[in-house]
Symmetry: C2
C-alpha cells in the first residue's frame, strides 16, 4: 500500500475528509521506508508530525524498571503511530520499532491541525479513536497486573489474532514475533513465555512451528484468558 492509497482507504479516519482536504494531504505527505528492526521514533524524541503505517507492522514499547520493555501497542497499516505525544504536546513516551519492513507516511503537525480546525468530523474520529484506545489501555492495566501467567499469555495471543488476523489456513496468527516480544507484550520473562507456550502446545490449545503460532482451540484459549 502507498500513502495515497491510505488517504483514500475507507478504514482510515481520513474517510471523513472532503476531496479538497484529501488533496491537501496528498500534496503534503512524505514517506519513508524502515527495515525490520529499525527504530521509527524513540522515547524522548519530539514528535514532528502525524505518522501512519502504509505497509508493515510496528511495535510500540516503553522502557520500564531496569530497561525491561513493555509493549503498549501493536500497530498495522492505516493505523496512526506517535499521535499520542503529538496531540498531548509532549515528547514521545514510547519507542516505535518496525517488526517487518515498513512504509511510514508523515504529514506536518501544522497540516493536521489545519485539517482538525476545518473538519469537525475528523476531530470526532480522533476523539473516538483516543477514547477507544484509552479503554484498551485501562483494560490492559488490569489484566497485566491481575491475571496469572497463563491468562496473560492467552489474552496476548487472542489480542494478536484480533489485531493481525489469521493466515490463509485460518489458524496461524498473521504475525511472527520473537519469544522475547511475546514476553514483553504479556509482562513476563522470555523463559516463562517459552515455557507457557510449550505448555499450551502440549495441551493442544495452540500449535507451534518456530515463530508460527496456530490457534487450535480458541474456546479453550478464551477460557484460560478469562479465568485469569
Amino acid at each position: 500500500m502507498t500513502c495515497e492509497e491510505c488517504i483514500d482507504n475507507k478504514m482510515s479516519v481520513f474517510s471523513v475528509l472532503s476531496p479538497e482536504e484529501k488533496d491537501l494531504l496528498r500534496k503534503n505527505n512524505s514517506s519513508h521506508h524502515y527495515k525490520k528492526g529499525e527504530i521509527i521514533f524513540k522515547e524522548g524524541d519530539k514528535p514532528t508530525g502525524l505518522l501512519w503505517i502504509a505497509e508493515g507492522k510496528v511495535k510500540i514499547f516503553k522502557e520500564g524498571v531496569g530497561g525491561r520493555e513493555q509493549i503498549v501497542r501493536m500497530a498495522k497499516p492505516v493505523g496512526f503511530i506517535g499521535y499520542r505525544a503529538l496531540f498531548a504536546e509532549e515528547h514521545h513516551s514510547a519507542t516505535a520499532v518496525a517488526i517487518e519492513d515498513s512504509d511510514i507516511c508523515t504529514i506536518e503537525k501544522e497540516t493536521i491541525y489545519k485539517l482538525l480546525r476545518s473538519n469537525a468530523e475528523l476531530c470526532l474520529s480522533i476523539i473516538k479513536a483516543f477514547a477507544t484506545e484509552l479503554g484498551f489501555s485501562n483494560n490492559r492495566t488490569v489484566t497485566l497486573t491481575q491475571k496469572h501467567i497463563r491468562g496473560r499469555l492467552a489474552e496476548s495471543l487472542i489480542f494478536l489474532k484480533d489485531t493481525y488476523g489469521f493466515e490463509d489456513d485460518n489458524s496461524t496468527i498473521k504475525i511472527y514475533l520473537s519469544r522475547e516480544d511475546i514476553a514483553n507484550l504479556s509482562n513476563m520473562t522470555t523463559s516463562n513465555a517459552i515455557r507457557t507456550l510449550s505448555t499450551f502446545a502440549s495441551e493442544d490449545v495452540i500449535g507451534i512451528d518456530g515463530r508460527k503460532i496456530r490457534i487450535q482451540d480458541l474456546q479453550k484459549l478464551e477460557r484460560i484468558s478469562e479465568l485469569g
Copy 2:
C-alpha cells in the same frame, strides 16, 4: 462550587467556549448530589451525557479477576468523568464512586456533540486531554506491573499529592482514603498497603494519623518510586 461556576472556571476545558456557547451549556445542564460512597455510574451502564465534578472527589475503578478492584483514575472538581465511554460510544468500562459528598453536573450527549461540531478549539482541548490521560494510563501499566510494592506505593502517594495537593500544613495529602482504596490504587493487597505504609512511617518518609498521611520526605519518596 456550582455547575455554573465550573462553566466559567478558567481551569475547565470550557474556557475556550464563546459566551453564547457557555449560555447553551448553562441552560442545558442539570446537577445531582451524591453522598460519600454512592455510585455515580456502574461498569456496563450506558453513558447518558457528559458528567463533571463541581464539588467533591470521585474514584473510578474496574472490576478485575475475582472482583478485585483496580482504581484507574481519581477525579476532582472541574474534571470530567465517564467521558471515555461516551466518546468511544461504548458502555462504561469502569465504575465511579463518590469518596466524599459530591455534586455532579450533566449535559446531554446531543448538546456536547453540538458544541464539538461548532467549536474546533473545544475538540482540540478534548483531544489533548485524552492524549494526556492515555500517556498516564500507559505509564501506570508499566509501573504497576514492573515496580515492586514499595515503589508502587510511593508512586501512588506522590500521585495523590499531585492530584489533590496538601492541606494548609503543607504536608498532609488532601484526600482521606481507606487502606483498601490505597491498595486498589497501587495494585496490592490491603495487608501489604498497611504494612508498607507502616514501614514508610518507621523510616520517617511519611507520617500516619488514621487516614491522614503526611509526606515528610518527598525526595526519599521519589527515590523509592524511581528505584522501583
